[in-house]
Amino acid sequence: MNFAKKIFIILLMIFGLNLSCAVADESAELVVEGQPILTRTKAPSHMENIDEVRSGWTFRIKETQALQMDDFENPGMIFVDKGIDLWNKVEGSKNKSCASCHGDASEFKGLRTVMPKWNASAGALWSMEDHVNNCRTEQMGAEPLKWGKAPMDSIVALIGLQSRGMTMNVKIDGDVQTMWEFGKELFYTRVGQLDMSCANCHEDNYGVMIRADHLSQGQINGFPTYRLKNAKLNSIHARFKGCMKNIRATPYKVGGDEFRALELYVASRGNGLSAETPSVRN
């Protein structure tokens, strides 16, 4: 038995009593505004240790699950509204808004399901934030937005929402293969004072309680995610950063190569699930 497993079992013994009161409704079906969302499916073939991939939604308690089923109750939609305002706002030296060139955000239907993806002109793996900022600086002559802050997360959520219910399908070979392999390596590398890897929690122990939290597979198909904990949207890289801090590791840089690679690898572990943006978690 490895060290991490032992810690988990000790945690389970200490907090075991919680199990009965904080159960998730694991068999519930997610339907958002009448649209069915696939929250469980066969794991993509590249995954060796998991047969079924599950959305983080299936691990949340009933009340939290309900928030995501009704757009009026989903607080993430408030930020989507802010994203719409920003979408239409004329900024920068060229006097343009996103709408000037892209019309309606629905132009980006499907884009969320293939992100992150290779950008040939930049010769790099791009996240949604890169597209937003590239258009701001190159097309609008405006300042780039800061990753992980409300304006950026809101516009990323607005674009993501257009693909809600569509199947996640990021590419893992070709130009992005090296990054994907790097991401996979990071996912399984132990780091920090607690000497744990993402996999120790999100692969070896999903389904168990870690203190008061029900461990999920660490999927990102619902990002940006509205968290009850901080009452705002949380970006993918901000979530990675939080998890690294929890294991007392020095987080990689938001927007840096490590998190980009990890984003691609983690996204590919969710291939087959529906995009859920904006999801609600605790």
Partner: protein, 109 residues
């Protein structure tokens, strides 16, 4: 004026006479309590939605009096019995004097 204020309502379009319908309302508002201080130690003045009302065809349905300490983006959900077709009117009153209004028609069969 408070920034980013946006009222939202959810009311069914139709109901049968005498049916209790669920109404959901939410206004995005920062609900500054008046107790916080800025980086220089000066008090940030209170700025909240202090009252919310709902009327149906001119008669009052609910009237909420709100104080500091209510969380951001106040959300109210309540039931109303609709006797006839008509119009709901929702009104939010801001400390800064702004008044936000929304109306919604409902058909009763």
């Amino acid at each position: 004026m408070a920034k980013g204020v946006k009222p939202r309502i959810k009311v069914p379009k139709q109901a049968s006479a005498g049916e209790a319908i669920t109404i959901k309302t939410l206004i995005s508002h920062k609900m500054e309590t008046g107790l916080r201080k800025d980086a220089d130690g000066n008090k940030i003045p209170q700025s909240i939605i202090n009252r919310f009302t709902c009327d149906f065809n001119g008669s009052n349905v609910v009237d909420f009096d709100m104080k500091a300490g209510i969380s951001v983006n106040p959300y109210f959900q309540f039931e109303a019995v609709v006797p006839e077709s008509g119009e709901f009117k929702f009104t939010w009153y801001d400390d800064d004097g702004s008044v936000y209004e929304k109306t919604k028609k409902i058909t009763v069969s």
